[in-house]
């Protein structure tokens, strides 16, 4: 038996032949071919009993959320394609900004009367971890290590909310009244920008920084519902509590 004959029988069985006459004649004239044909038919029929598989709404929502989070981390077309001299010019601009800031600090430091080694004091104090006492009470807060940490928005700093507790409260629909859902159009748009079109707003939290709390649409909340937290300013996903 040549392979192409078996392929012909398989094609006859699944109805993909334009002209089945030759294949039918083969099957009718050859017991071996007839058996192969029946085998192919039975398997095709068996496979037809398999139910189609689909993602659940929860899985789709998680897929969209995770996909858009990944896509946001992709380099943009512009940045990836910028020529080397273009990127170098940005680096040079950054250097000038840093140098300028140091010069400004040095100038301001000299107004406090203790001009010697002001910049060195700043760097050494920061290295030693001491709280920097500004030379000018007017406000060099950016050189205070404590406020610097808060300003950079370190997720581990005291301004981050307790995601786990909020997620549990969301699942039990027991969010405190201070963080109940609002109907601001801007918040709905923010969820869309975060890739959470399949999610609905469950609440907001303002803990030095505003977050939106989102759960998948049309899903009964239970202990396993993923709860997503979105930075309300940047509209980016910052935490997912699974």
């Amino acid at each position: 038996m040549h392979d192409h004959d078996l392929d012909l029988i398989a094609s006859l069985a699944d109805g993909s032949l334009d002209d089945p006459a030759v294949a039918r004649a083969l099957v009718e004239s050859c017991e071996h071919c007839s058996l192969e044909y029946e085998t192919q038919l039975s398997i095709i029929a068996a496979l037809a009993t398999i139910e189609p598989v689909m993602m659940t709404d929860l899985e789709k929502a998680a897929l969209h959320r995770d996909l858009w989070t990944e896509l946001r981390n992709q380099p943009t077309k512009g940045s990836a394609g910028a020529p080397w001299w273009y990127r170098l010019s940005y680096a040079a601009a950054g250097v000038f900004v840093v140098v300028g800031l140091v010069a400004v600090v040095a100038q301001l430091g000299s107004f406090g009367g203790d001009s010697a080694g002001t910049v060195a004091e700043v760097s050494s104090d920061l290295d030693a971890g001491e709280t920097m006492t500004p030379m000018d009470d007017g406000g060099q807060e950016e050189f205070n290590p404590t406020t610097t940490a808060a300003a950079t928005g370190d997720a581990g700093a005291e301004s981050a909310p307790d995601f786990k507790t909020l997620a549990d409260e969301t699942r039990r629909e027991e969010l405190p009244s201070s963080v109940r859902a609002t109907s601001e159009q801007e918040q709905a748009t923010c969820l869309t920008d975060a890739g959470l079109e399949d999610h609905e707003l469950a609440g907001t939290v303002d803990n030095g920084r505003a977050y939106l709390i989102a759960v998948p649409d049309n899903v009964a909340l239970d202990g396993e519902t993923p709860v997503t937290f979105v930075n309300a300013s940047t509209c980016q996903v910052v935490h997912v509590e699974e």
């Binding site: 078996l6 392929d7 029988i9 058996l35 398997i43 598989v53 689909m54 897929l63």
Partner: protein, 182 residues
């Protein structure tokens, strides 16, 4: 169903950074991609990962689509290759593992229960096929793709696809205990 011109336009918009265009492509194909991935990999979590990876690749390689096949066929090809990569990385072939979570919730009707009684064996047999045969049978017999499209999706000649489909079905028959001509 998108036309070739529409597909080319959609991808051009994706390349230019149009989120809505990519979202449209994704939502139009995600169920089929997931179905293929689940049938090939036999595991729901892995299939979800493969589905995500597939669309990430679609996004990254949108500029490489030449239009010599339907967009869906091209996406299927990416999905199949993604699944093959996963299988290679895991260093295993799914053999007799029961495909969990493939079946829908309790159907209730007598005929459905009877059919459901057969399905675990069929799905187990399908999961035990070599990946190349399994992919061919899944695309042809479960997804209903014409064989020329299956050939494009798998990146092999039409004759190879026909052979894989035939041999895949025959292996299924042997594993299900049917009498074969061999």
């Amino acid at each position: 169903m998108t036309t070739p011109g529409t597909e080319t336009d959609l991808l051009a918009r994706v390349i230019s950074g149009d989120r809505a265009a990519f979202d449209s492509i994704m939502r139009g194909q995600e169920d089929r991609v997931f179905s293929v991935c689940l049938r090939i990999l036999g595991d729901r979590d892995n299939a979800l990962d493969a589905t995500q990876e597939t669309f990430l690749t679609v996004f990254r390689k949108a500029a490489q689509f030449k239009g010599d096949s339907a967009l869906g066929t091209w996406i299927y090809r990416i999905a199949v290759n993604t699944c093959y990569d996963q299988i290679r990385k895991s260093g295993r072939r799914p053999t007799d593992s029961l495909p969990d979570h493939l079946e829908p919730p309790d159907l209730g009707a007598e005929d459905a229960i009877e059919a459901a009684g057969l399905r675990p064996e069929i799905e187990r047999a399908l999961a035990s096929l070599p990946p190349e045969f399994r992919a061919a049978v899944v695309l042809s017999d479960l997804e209903g793709m014409p064989l020329p499209e299956v050939a494009q999706a798998l990146g092999v000649p039409l004759g190879t696809v026909k052979s894989r489909v035939f041999r895949g079905r025959r292996l299924l028959a042997e594993r299900l205990g049917n009498q074969t001509a061999s």
